[in-house]
């Protein structure tokens, strides 16, 4: 297999998977098997690509010249490889999880669901391997449109409303700002290629650099930077596997990944640092980090709480990119992987709780830890990673991000990271604590949301089975979440490899790290 072929196959196997799923829609088991096999095939090819990359083979693929200056082309570089590995690696697990979940919930339109899912993964890989801004933008839009049917899956008025918000924010930011910024870049520099060191140095008026950077950052609505973050909580109406893979991993990471990539390969770290052009972006990201954490504290619905936590964690990465020191950039890249593993676990757990007990609110989860020990242990491990405590992967990336902030003599941003960690303890630990240490029948003992809880319980009317014994979700749900939880541990020990992989992207910078 040549490197070109590997890229082609990696991009095609989800597409082929989508078509086969569509054709085999009538036979549920065949369809679901195909879905998993496509996922495994994709992962295999991405791993092969990683292998070629380690051998320092040139991994580029030029498809077609669309217009002069606009080429549909792919090239593998470390940042994209990390993102691709994350997306492709978590896809088969999510597929497995999705069967358990979708069947457990008796969802309609499952074929459409799996087809769009595969299409979304293809788009995510396209973003990961994009060689220029045009290719990136093409797959970025493709990802938006292919995930829309997943958000409105339920077909209810609420789902459609959320779908409108989702599409409205993502498409309008991308067209009004991102495309504008891309055309602007092209008008200024005459190229859209990603190049180490950037393409704008010496071509863009330094006074306009912050404007262009902000146009890019707001244009990439998928990064959920405030004030364009509302789509993410809205998208939580989707079935949980969607929230897990797409709105904790593929879609949102596509956003922050694009920002980091643009900072590194379009602006260039040196160019950005020269005039402190990214300071505004850093302040906006820092504001997003803190305010989203505070909002997360106030959310009782578990998925909404996780959504705001995601917004806050994404802003970590944007902040890292905006600080633009080698350590911060590497930290951002690592955080893409670390946060993905942790957040997908949390969403899997939320889904598993929903499947097993039909509970969605934090205040209803008292004592559930005894009945679903595996799920809540996984939740606990993932929470540690989000907070950034060893021995989980999240601790490394957060450390590098904080180092980066100090390197840039912006200790205030290191403070933001620390404060946000404290806040994340505040919104994640009560879930675990309540599940393990509260007695299910002790309503209102340590409970701050007593009124809500009583209301919720009355609504669901399942007082009766709360005291039952072990009652986990189906194996297809529990297995993936255990694996991803273990991954959070594993990443703590493999962080060195990740660091080594990402280091080349900042090798040429003049500012010391």
């Amino acid at each position: 297999m040549t490197p070109e072929l590997a890229i082609q196959l990696a991009l095609f196997s989800p597409c082929v998977g989508a078509v086969l799923v569509l054709l085999s829609g009538r036979w549920q088991n065949v369809r679901d098997t195909i879905s998993i096999l496509a996922g495994i095939a994709t992962l295999y090819f991405v791993i092969r690509i990683a292998g070629y990359h380690a051998d320092e083979a040139r991994l580029a693929l030029e498809v077609v010249d669309v217009m002069p200056g606009l080429t549909l082309a792919f090239e593998v570089e470390p940042l994209g490889l990390v993102y691709a590995l994350v997306a492709a690696g978590l896809w088969p697990l999510t597929s497995l999880y999705a069967f358990g979940y979708m069947r457990g919930h008796h969802e309609k339109n499952q074929t459409r669901f799996f087809v769009c899912f595969a299409a979304a993964i293809a788009a995510a890989l396209g973003i990961a391997f994009a060689r220029n801004l045009f290719t990136l933008f093409l797959f970025y839009e493709l990802l938006t449109f292919s995930t829309y049917p997943l958000v409105t899956h339920a077909g209810t008025e609420a789902a459609k409303q959320a779908g409108r918000k989702y599409l409205g924010i993502l498409v309008s930011t991308s067209v009004a700002f991102l495309l504008f910024a891309i055309v602007w870049t092209y008008a200024v520099s005459g190229t859209l290629e990603f190049r180490p060191g950037g393409i704008l140095d010496g071509k863009l008026n330094p006074a306009l650099t912050p404007v262009l950077l902000l146009t890019f950052a707001f244009g990439i609505g998928k990064a959920a930077l405030m004030p364009f973050h509302k789509w993410l909580p809205a998208a939580m109406v989707a079935p949980t596997p969607v929230s897990a893979l797409l709105h904790a991993v593929a879609v949102v990471k596509a956003g922050v990944f694009s920002i980091v990539k643009i900072v590194v390969y379009v602006f260039g770290i040196d160019f950005l640092r020269q005039g402190n052009a990214s300071l505004w972006l850093a302040y906006i990201a820092a504001f997003t980090v803190l305010s989203a954490s505070v909002v997360a504290l106030s959310k009782d619905n578990l998925k909404a709480r996780l959504a705001y936590s995601t917004i806050s964690q994404l802003a970590y990465i944007v902040l890292g990119a905006a600080i633009a020191t080698p350590n911060a950039i590497v930290g951002s890249g690592m955080h893409i992987a670390m946060h993905a593993a942790a957040k997908i676990t949390l969403f899997f757990c939320a889904g598993a709780i929903m499947v097993a007990t039909h509970k969605t609110n934090v205040s209803q989860m008292r004592g559930l830890g005894r009945r679903m020990p595996v799920t809540f242990t996984a939740f606990f491990i993932a929470s540690l990673s989000i907070i950034g405590l060893p021995p989980t992967g999240g601790s490394w990336s957060k450390m590098f991000l904080a180092f980066g902030a100090v390197d840039a003599h912006q200790a205030v941003f290191a403070g933001v990271y620390m404060l946000s960690s404290l806040l994340s303890i505040g919104y994640l630990m009560p879930v675990v604590g309540r599940a393990f240490f509260c007695r299910a029948d002790a309503a209102g003992a340590i409970n701050a949301h007593g009124a809500d809880a009583a209301h919720g319980d009355a609504e669901h009317g399942d007082h009766g089975d709360v005291n039952g014994g072990l009652h986990e979700a189906p194996l297809a749900c529990v297995l993936p979440l255990s694996i991803t939880a273990l991954l959070c541990f594993a990443l703590f020990y493999f962080a060195r490899d990740l660091y080594a992989l990402l280091l080349p992207i900042v090798r040429d910078t003049t500012i010391g790290g």
């Binding site: 045009f134 493709l142 409105t152 599409l167 602007w184």
Partner: protein, 511 residues
Amino acid sequence: MFGLLSTWSDWATSLSTLSEHFPVLVVVVPMLSAPLCFLSRNGRAARGISFFALLSCLLMVIHLLGRVLDEGVVSYRLGGWPPPLGIEYRYDQINAFVALIVAFVATVVVPFGQNKKAFRVPAGRTNVIYAVYLLCTSGLLGMCVTGDLFNVYVFLEISSLSAYTLVAIGAERRAMMSAFSYLTMGTIGGLFFLIGIGMLYQMTGTLNIVDLSMRLYDVSSVRTLSVAFATLFVGVSIKLAVFPLHQWLPNAYTYAPPKVSAFLAATATKVAFYVMLRIIFTIFGRERSFEQMNLDRILLPLSIAAMFMGSIAAIYQTNIKRLLAFSSIAQIGYMTLGISLDSLTGLVGGIVHLFNHALMKGGLFLAVACILFRLGSVKIDDMRGIGRRMPWTMGAVVVLGLGLVGVPGTVGFVSKWYLVLGALERELYVVAFLTLVSSLLAVVYVWRLVEVAWFSDPKPGIRMAEVREAPLTMVVPVWALAAATIYFGIFTEHSAGVARLAAAQLFGGTP
């Protein structure tokens, strides 16, 4: 054996002699087939005749475009009279390109299946429709290829008169009133055009476009020149439905039979746009139009207003044909924006959008014809849940709609790219931004259709279960256009590439 060979070589020589006359046959073949259709007294035979007439027309245009790209301008002297005395048919990069679009769309639309109830014509007399249709096509092709300004007027009237008739045969009685107001507006537009021709003739004593442009260099009378420019411009703007002169368009497209709407939306306004390009860039020249007449100060605000008003009006429509008609007004705004940017890149955007919009709007109106055929209604509200019943048709609507939005990978993106780049090159940041924002409005109206078709339950009272996918003869043309929307969004060599040549030629001055 030898006899056969010699007949074959005779054939070959006569074909090559014939190919000398292709430039005029492109117009003459459909025109002379029209009476044949009329005489055939049979809808099926007329359909066959018009299909083959237009197909041969299409092949000839392709041949000519090839010749133009290889050899440069192809000039044909009608009756052997040399220009500027005689009428000249002149093919260059731009009008061969427009003629190709007209011939292509006209050919695709003919075999398209149809609902007899869509026409207000007595049964057994549908051949008349084809006769009028061929006349209209012939007029549009004539407008493209002729090099004589008065001849443009004549063909303009031929195509317009037949277009009014085509609109009037729509099934609803409102069709006639909309055809009448189309006629009123169109005739006034034609007359303005005629006055402008008269003034130009008065100043230069010639009607040949190339000759005219050269003689106009020496004309110093600015006032007559400005009046001539103004009348010509207004006349064509009415035909093109530039923003404040667009009132005839929504009703005409809404009440015309869907096939006719598809044809007119994809060709009539495009040819008018071509004539406008000719007037602005060839006859008057870029410098005169923009620096003396300050065209950009008028056309730029009007284009932006069209982009916004058209799209906003489209959002509030309840009838899908009307929605598409208003969207057309907005898209025409993009085309004129390309002119008014006064930059080469912007002009490429305008010209390539001419091609792209013909594909997308033609496809969308044909898809509407499919919906009308099976559902019997064009109300958006009645289409709830139709996606499951007619997945292919509605799938095409999604693809074509994404094209209208300008999603990368579709033709809409190509035009938008050039337009925005053109605006940024002129440092018109606000215009660039507004162009992008207005395309967001397209998301709203396109997504309304998507949501209704795929994510809604059927409306009570509509028997959605009985609706089936449209027949193959209808779905295939729709998908051909939808596939072209994607193909030309990725392989732009034959759309944007030709548009670049054409724009460079227009921008450079005389052809």
